[in-house]
Symmetry: C2
């Protein structure tokens, strides 16, 4: 399926994870809030580009963009979560009735892009090999606040063979639009993680012998921080069910 | 002088260009507007990171930040330009009386950073060698609009020896926070520039034999585009008279 075909497929209320759809194309997280909160959110993203790499913004009244030619942000994601006052109120396959004229939609890069680059370079990605979701943890690393938004960073962890840690750093640093280089390599306690076997989100995974835990800023961070500020209404994608964009992974590679 | 000493020096109403001050430290452009325009501006920057690389934002009521420890954005730039309804109203060494409680200040990266990297790699920078300001031109390249903000990109031009064009691309692409890789290499007509000898801003320079004109997105773009939207009040630095920050050039280098 092309990205446009995948979006049309999900528009027809088919609900699956988007992992593996349109390989080589960027998949995006969605978080949409009323325009009164939009400046604070965009400023938070500007100050915290690693956990919150914005790849596109839909202004009030705009439901598509050049990232999703012919698409509709309100219908083309397999499933949406509707939050009211920071609490999950509903899950739906069509967000049209919730999308007010003042909603601003933020599309945020996703680590699927750099995982593909790691695999291409023969750096193993353990959670994929083990058929699980990536483990994610709340840390004691504080994001730089913006307006009413503040709180700790959430990270994802991938155990990397010690001899390939440098490769993993080098490769992911070339993708600043999808979380970029790791924020921490090694001892989890130093960033406030007491037990790697008990992630706050995602699945626990087996850590292969000789591997070092490597931590990347995670796109769950902005969602968790916005919820903390309890806006009247927020519309997010459902975890693992992303927007498939027309943009190729390579377009976000630097230098 | 350290960056803090330079800021204190300019706070005492000393007015000179900041070129050559605190070498190795990032210098920043300032543009400050009322908070009602701040989302549009930040969105414009997010969509046009090459001409408008935001390195810091001062929220309403904030006049300093970790980029300028102990400094004051209203006094520490050698000279300010006050614009009313898009027209230059005044030039001053102290913007305190104009800085209302609702002003949001945007600090924007400057090409001084990558010019230093070019010189370090023995790529000649002609306007520096000739003791002139860099020539800048309006183009037919349209920025991606955001809210009320739209218009053409302004570029700076540096003639690069043909055998070093690849080096110039490679080196500047490592500094996405200060305009990054060129937007155009070669024929000026293709981007709507009819005469390199008649720049719209800055100085005309001599183009050495065997050099190719190379064009980078320029920080004059956001200023020119904001003025076009005629906000009640905008406060900018005076050209060539920048904010000297505490940040080292190397911190903005990727990967």
């Amino acid at each position: 399926m092309t990205p446009a075909e995948a979006r049309a497929y999900f528009r027809e209320h088919n609900v699956t994870t988007t992992a593996g759809f349109a390989p080589g194309n960027v998949q995006a997280n969605l978080i949409a809030v009323d325009k009164q909160h939009a400046f604070d959110f965009l400023l938070f993203a500007q100050r915290n580009p690693k956990p919150c790499p914005v790849i596109g913004v839909l202004e009030p009244g705009q439901v598509s963009s050049h990232l999703m030619e012919g698409g509709d942000i309100r219908t083309d994601i397999p499933a949406y979560r509707i939050y009211r006052h920071g609490e999950l109120a509903e899950e739906t396959t069509d967000a049209t009735e919730y999308w007010t004229k003042d909603m601003v939609g933020f599309l945020i890069g996703c680590s699927f892009t750099f995982e593909r680059a790691l695999l291409d370079a023969h750096v193993p990605v353990a959670h994929i090999a083990q058929g699980r979701n990536v483990p994610m943890y709340r840390t004691n690393l504080q994001c730089e606040p913006a307006g009413v938004l503040a709180g700790p960073m959430v990270v994802s962890m991938r155990p990397i063979p010690a001899g390939q840690v440098a490769d993993a750093v080098r490769i992911t640093s070339r993708y600043p639009a999808v979380h970029g280089a790791p924020v921490h390599v090694g001892d989890p306690l130093l960033i406030g993680i007491e037990d790697l076997g008990q992630p706050d989100f995602g699945d626990a995974i087996d850590i292969p012998a000789g591997a070092v835990p490597v931590f990347w800023a995670c796109g769950v961070t902005p969602q968790s921080i916005v919820m903390h500020s309890r806006p009247d209404l927020a519309i997010c994608h459902s975890p693992g069910k992303m927007l498939i964009t027309d943009v190729h992974d390579a377009e976000y590679q630097v230098p």
